[in-house]
């Protein structure tokens, strides 16, 4: 039993502690919610497009030829696609008002999944309502904490976010370098022999893109499949850029190399490039795809794709199936402009000749990224003045794992005529000469 004085001291101490705590609360100053952004930040003032982002695009009031939107097959302003979307709008309205599990599944969605599975010659397909969310939800559905993922250094941001959400061990290998990948796989094999029990439950995945967005190069799929069977890892292939572009019928990089589609565990692509719609899909065997219907976050917890966009995608698929000749035409145009842009002093072309989206990087960097970005922006602005709409490839500098160097991205579409391609090439040449010398 404490004496009266001791009790009084205790009470004083407690009171003093309480006051101290109140003082701490008063004094604490958090950072502002957002740091101020300078008014002339290059990313703050977007290019405003008035009207449709089609072949002839009106940017900031000026009419230009579009070399910036990923409209590879020119389906953005195709009248058949618009008519199909209109028919769907008349029947279903616009929104679906619910996720797929809660009366958000329309017959159009089931139809689209069916058509995509048939087109890609796989068992099943699943659609997402946003392109970015497709691969970012697919990876964490299969790969969990403790699993190992081998991913290319030039993987796009959506794959990086999917990997971050999965909490797995990530091993980066040099871009398109199969020897480096084999080295990593061998190291993992040695680790496995040390701890066979753990190795029996650790899943391995290799995540690659068909055509890389950041470099315009194609992945060496035949060697990857060999490595897959040798080291028992599963392959996830991201085909956003190569779906509807590569291959005789536009089925992507598997058709381009003639690889059996069952050898790839999961193919994911977004419908925003070749199919001129919004959303994305994954296709593969039912064993793999069905799992995403309960554990794909972007599928279960998000509203389904509006039916008019699904109908537009179905019509775009119809058009792709009816004219398989457009893929050869696109390839020819890519080759043409690739050749025409070689030999510009100061700029080098990064990307393969069959990639419709490639980059123009500075041959010699000035040393500071900001300076490079400013130079390239100068080139882009001047090209815009001469009616060629280009854009720089945009990245979040602080968030990317392996930040690519600044570049201008050039996109080739089927709608561009040969003389427009020649004109673009010569304009870029002149402007580059003027700015860089």
């Amino acid at each position: 039993m404490a004496t009266a004085t001791e009790q009084w001291v205790l009470v004083e101490m407690v009171q003093a502690l309480y006051e101290e705590k109140e003082e701490l609360i008063e004094e604490w100053q958090p950072e502002p919610l957002v740091p101020p952004v300078p008014k002339d930040h290059p990313a703050l003032n977007y290019n405003i497009v008035s009207g449709p982002p089609s072949h002839k695009i009106v940017v900031n009031g000026k009419e230009c030829i579009n070399f910036a939107s990923f409209n590879f097959l020119g389906l953005l302003d195709n009248p058949r696609v618009k008519a199909a979307a209109l028919a769907s709008l008349k029947k279903y309205g616009v929104g679906t008002c619910g996720p797929r599990g809660f009366y958000g599944t329309f017959d159009v969605h089931l139809d689209l999944e069916d058509r995509l599975a048939k087109f890609m010659k796989t068992e099943e397909a699943i659609i997402y309502s946003y392109g970015f969310a497709t691969i970012a939800s697919a990876i964490p559905a299969y790969s969990k904490r403790g699993d190992i993922v081998f991913v290319d250094r030039a993987a796009c941001f959506a794959i990086q976010k999917g990997l971050q959400a999965s909490r797995s061990d990530i091993k980066l290998f040099k871009h398109n370098d199969m020897a480096d990948l084999e080295r990593l796989l061998k190291e993992q094999e040695i680790e496995d022999q040390k701890n066979p029990r753990k190795a029996r439950v650790t899943r391995r995945f290799i995540v690659v893109e068909g055509l890389y967005m950041n470099t315009g190069t194609i992945c060496p799929l035949p060697e990857l499949v060999k490595l897959k069977y040798k080291y028992k890892a599963r392959i996830f292939l991201e085909e956003s850029l190569s779906f509807g572009v590569l291959g005789e019928h536009g089925r992507g990089v598997t058709e381009h190399y003639g690889i059996k589609i069952d050898d790839i565990d999961l193919i994911s692509a977004n419908m925003e490039n070749a199919l001129a719609s919004i959303g994305g899909f994954c296709c593969g065997r039912s064993f793999v795809i069905d799992h995403q219907r309960l554990s794909g976050q972007g599928y279960c917890f998000s509203a389904s794709l509006p039916p008019l966009l699904a109908a537009a995608a179905i019509e775009a698929l119809n058009i792709m199936e009816e004219n398989p000749g457009i893929f050869a035409v696109l390839k020819e145009k890519c080759r043409q402009i690739h050749k025409a842009l070689q030999g510009i002093s100061g700029l080098k072309v990064v990307g393969e000749s069959l990639s419709p989206a490639f980059h123009l990087q500075l041959e010699e960097s000035t040393g500071s990224r900001e300076q490079d970005v400013r130079l390239l922006q100068e080139i882009v602005d001047q090209c815009m003045n001469r009616s060629i709409a280009l854009t720089q490839a945009r990245y979040l500098e602080k968030e990317e794992k392996c930040l690519p160097p600044p570049s201008i991205r050039v996109v080739v579409t089927v709608e561009q005529t040969e003389e427009e391609l020649e004109r673009a090439a010569s304009t870029i040449k002149e402007v580059a000469q003027a700015v860089l010398l």
Partner: protein
Amino acid sequence: MANPGGGAVCNGKLHNHKKQSNGSQSRNCTKNGIVKEGQQNGKPHFYDKLIVESFEEAPLHVMVFTYMGYGIGTLFGYLRDFLRNWGIEKCNAAVERKEQKDFVPLYQDFENFYTRNLYMRIRDNWNRPICSAPGPLFDVMERVSDDYNWTFRFTGRVIKDVINMGSYNFLGLAAKYDESMRTIKDVLEAYGTGVASTRHEMGTLDKHKELEDLVAKFLNVEAAMVFGMGFATNSMNIPALVGKGCLILSDELNHASLVLGARLSGATIRIFKHNNTQSLEKLLRDAVIYGQPRTRRAWKKILILVEGVYSMEGSIVHLPQIIALKKKYKAYLYVDEAHSIGAVGPTGRGVTEFFGLDPHEVDVLMGTFTKSFGASGGYIAGRKDLVDYLRVHSHSAVYASSMSPPIAEQIIRSLKLIMGLDGTTQGLQRVQRLAKNTRYFRQRLQEMGFIIYGNENASVVPLLLYMPGKVAFEACMDQRHKEDQRTCNGFTVMRSIYPTT
């Protein structure tokens, strides 16, 4: 009229099942097994209306039967797995390829136990395809299974005019095409469906600017930014706002998109009990006084993540108390109004209007256009410097495509309708009718003796069934009603079990 849960109804009002918190000092109240703490922190508050929420507990025999149901289901699951392993029963599930049989299995056996044995039995309740607009009446495609839900087959028949109580179509704006939607037709024909570029590159259309200005005007804030997907709005913008060294205080029952956004940001996450301001205050005090764990350095910033209306409980956030707390401890508040924008408040402006507060008091107002506006996509609104920062640093603006033009036009049309800018009072009438319908429906269900969770003003009504067996029985009753088209319209509601939201 007494109801089986206990409690009497008199004068049409149900007594002793509701806990009314009206601003007096904290008191714990235990009635019929409910313990609900009063939620005050002793400070004067700005909201004097009664908050009527109820989270009644089930009677004991219901709990016992529920656990028994799950237990029996699990036992049968083990039995069936055993039979399948030994080949006595045919396995209908898809299997791994022959060539890949020696790979590490893609799914662990136990992960799929729930899916294979419990979910498969009642799988036909979900993913039901419809073939008309999700209006108040819609058409459901008939679907049967010949092998106990492993595969489905469409009979080709369409069950017409089913009363829709399952779609989140609060204001009825997702409806079949009519003349008022002519602007959407024009935009579709002019702009097409896709955009094929990101906001930073060539994907910002004039339609997006128009939409953003209108959203800012609707919410009465300085600026707003729209994104193509509601889920992605959360998961891609929370990492842009907070990072390592920051603290996120997130409600227990937050949506998967908020949880994913918080995880991707890399900040430390602490959970407070659902809608419990005392739990939140304790966490805030500890955070400010003691700082980061181990290093004891001060936190860079503290962000509180709450939702306006919680979809699985039907409760409304206690916004006035949380704003008082946020002001005292200098934290930032992020409110996700996916289910409350357009549905709550006298003119449909969301929870800030519902409580009579100034929208500038909430730092980040986020919402989606899927539910009340009948489109898809999300927005973030607030002060101009916040929105400018997001324009530059949001992951979605740099890497993901922008919203499709006809969708943007539908949202513009809906906003104009709700705000009354099209010259009619139809929007206001819809909002008021929704509020009336909600209260009436909840009251009637409670009178009939069902256990309903949540606030009396929330339009999402969770009706607790508890036992998994009842879920399947409901479906059976559904079917019967639907077949009897001549005498009554079938109706359809949504049953939720894990992992839905």
